[in-house]
């Protein structure tokens, strides 16, 4: 009995010691994080040796780091990807990262709707970087779908609908009225098109608080559905896995993917439609200091 009690006490001491060590370490980390809160970054040069982040891309984190080091012309200390825009912004606020990349359309939207962010000016490219369009699987059916989508997009460009939607739900997204799938009119056709969205490129591809596509994606696909006489069903996907959902046939198209004319010989498993929005460049946002807001 005595021996048993001694053993129990010994175990308890070890456990208590471990808890204390853990608490000390985590406290140290918190202290370190808050002490390490960086002063507001004002210029591109100040990004040197800083941590950068962004929404998960179709390439490893180390590759994204190399890409942005190349675009910015300086070395970063590390790069971390996040699943969603809100997660990225939280990481920026908590100083887990000191800078985050966004598409210019998303960056401009965030700068209009939030006071705590600043853009770090980076060189303008000589040509626009890409067009956002829909991605479909590179298959016989995918080719047909691509042609149909292209026809619809062309019609929407010609009759001014795309321009109107862009003005209302992109350039003035913060003032636009709600438009979700419940407002969509293209709902009564026999054929259904499953469109993958992730909310990773607001206001082009946004999700509301109920995790439903809202704004441009819904309004635009509604018009496309009407032109092609398809019912549109959105499938909300994780940004990291949306591509595999396309390849597996779970969805017919990804709503928001980047395209530029292909001049490499890598086998391309997907096809891009005509673009509906042009992205000029990536933009880098940082957190403003408290007294700067």
């Amino acid at each position: 009995m005595e021996v048993g009690m001694i053993r129990t006490v010994h175990k308890l001491k070890v456990i208590i010691l471990l808890i204390v060590v853990l608490l000390v370490c985590s406290g140290f980390q918190i202290r370190k994080s808050s002490n390490a809160a960086s002063p507001g970054i004002l210029s591109k040069e100040e990004l040197r040796s800083k941590k950068m982040g962004g929404v998960a891309a179709r390439m490893p984190d180390n590759s994204v780091k190399i890409l942005f080091e190349s675009l910015l012309g300086l070395k970063l200390s590390s790069y971390h990807s996040y699943n969603t825009i809100p997660e990225t912004l939280t990481a920026l606020q908590s100083d887990e990262i000191q800078a985050a990349w966004f598409s210019d359309v998303t960056a401009d939207y965030l700068l209009r709707t939030r006071e705590d962010l600043r853009e770090i000016i980076s060189p303008d490219p000589t040509k626009s970087r890409l067009d956002f369009g829909l991605a479909v699987k590179n298959s016989e059916e995918g080719n047909v779908l691509k042609e149909n989508l292209n026809a619809a997009i062309s019609m929407l460009k010609e009759d001014g609908t795309l321009e109107r939607l862009t003005n209302e739900y992109v350039e003035n997204a913060e003032k636009a009225e709600t438009f979700t799938d419940t407002e969509m009119e293209s709902g009564n056709y026999g054929k259904t098109l499953y469109i993958g969205v992730s909310g990773a490129v607001p206001p082009l591809d946004s999700l509301n608080i109920w995790n439903k596509p809202n704004g441009f994606s819904a309004a635009f696909m509604d018009e496309v559905g009407k032109k092609l006489e398809y019912s549109i069903q959105f499938v909300v996907l994780n940004n990291e896995t949306m591509f595999s959902a396309l390849m597996s046939g779970r969805i017919d198209a990804l709503f928001c993917y980047g395209s530029s004319p292909i001049t490499t010989e890598s086998e391309i498993p997907y096809l891009m439609t005509e673009g509906y929005y042009t992205m000029q460049k990536y933009k880098i946002l940082v957190q403003k200091e408290e007294d700067d807001k």
Binding site: G54, F132, G258, P261, Y270
Partner: protein, 588 residues
Amino acid sequence: MLSGKGKMRNILKTHKKLFIIGGIFVVIFFVAIFMFKFLVKVGSPKYIYNYMNDTAGGLETILYQNATAGANAVKAAPVDSTKPSVFGLTEQIQADGVEVDNFKRKEEIFFQKDYIKGFTDIEGITTFRGDYFRNLSSFGITTLNEKKFDLNYWTFETGKVLKSNGVDYWSGNGWTGQPMAVKWKEETKSIMNLYDNAAAKKDLVEVIYPGMDGWVHFLDMDTGKETRDPINVGMTFKGTASIYPNGIPLLFCGSGDAQTGVYGENLSPRFYIYSLIDGSLLYESGYNDSFAPRIWHAYDSSPIIHTETDTLIYPGENGVIYTMKLNTDFDPVKGTVSVSPSDTVKFSFTGDRYSEGGVLWGSESSGVVWENYLFLGDNGGIFYCLDLNTMKMVWAQDLLEDINSTPVMEIDEAGNKYLYVGTTAKYHLNEHSIGEAGIYKLNAMTGEIVWCKPYEVHYVKGLAGGVLSTGVVGEGPIQDMVIYSVSKTPSLESGYLVALDKKTGEEVWRINISNYSWSSGVITYPANGGAYLIQGCQNGDLLLINAETGEIIHKLNFGSGIEATPALFGNKLVFGIRSEKIIGVTLK
């Protein structure tokens, strides 16, 4: 009670089978680990043969009778066997965006020999292999007293850029990757954005080096210190740039891979024209070209500039040769330079042999010019002569395999014009992934093969063996030789450095190098006599070789592959390596 030994014996006896089975499993485990590592290295079981077996190495030279006839002609013309139609080739010309059947250049281009072989208005190495015969790998006077490399060399850190597959990266400097080395005139220096100490330095020799890291670096050749702010282009440079040959501060460089992005986009490679006054981008072109027969766009070729007509000639790996009038406006007093390209004329050709994923169009090597002719080889094995004033092929020759080596031109005392070029084995491989690559001597006026010296080489994991380097056409003490490196022969990792007799193609000397070379050798004829070859190798060896005898005199190792071709200015040698460094070595 049993003793320790007794106990052990007892255990062994009792569990004999268990120990035997256990031992077998341990052996199998280590064999499996070894096999796994070996297969990772080999890449595929089909290449095990290549790792275990040597090729036949050098094969019998093939000498063609009467092929030298007409080599001293003043105009190029095909013989029956070198007419382009023999190879089923169809040519396309586009002039200012319009496809035409015939073309006649208004301002005709003629490259005179004196102009080609060493530009007199600028001191230094300003294009691949120094001139447009591609045989001037060193500039100025070299003195070799001790016949060795100085152990005190400088290094400069570079970096890396993402490959278009979004996973791997290009790092440092690779093939062909030769730097420029220029001693600017003082009045030109005074208008450039040089740092104060560089601008003040008399006799500054500036290294200008677009690299695989996507930057153009500017360094003092003596010290390796930066002379001005680098240019961040963001696209990898694998090939070699050119500088305007009469000293106008313009840099012409082409990217070698697309720039991929986080949204899956791919920015097409292109060629650029940069001002060397302030580092600004003046012009870019050659991207997403629908005229190109090939999807892949890249510009490894070192471009050619005809200063008299201010014409740029830029071969692309997309299968297009671009020519354009630059309309260069340089004011050395105001310190401004601009270009406004016009009159763009493009040439391409195709044939039954070509297809995506099969025999490929396009040129990775650089061209040679003489008079109104451009001589160039392509990835599909066609080596041809193009009349730059009509943009029509004059003659063509089938060298059977991928041509990555830049041709070198020679005009002998009798006025005979020859071209030397090598191939890499890619398309005609046997069941063991072994093929034949060759070093060729061609009659430049007719396209006939004078001789071919073939080598049996390996082709493994997409890396071809054979001749990727550009040869040295000997002068002075080695005027009877041409020198080449041959890779992946006889073993997968090894190669040869060979000197061939210009008349017969037979080997004069051969060095077996344990690690092959893609880098082109630099030849120098020092003031104190002799001829010396400086050769970089894939294992990081830099060799100093007596080019008359093939004797290796000195060697340094830099720890990582020397794929890039060095440039030599006086006694200073500069080159980049794959492990993200540029290195400057002095010859003593």
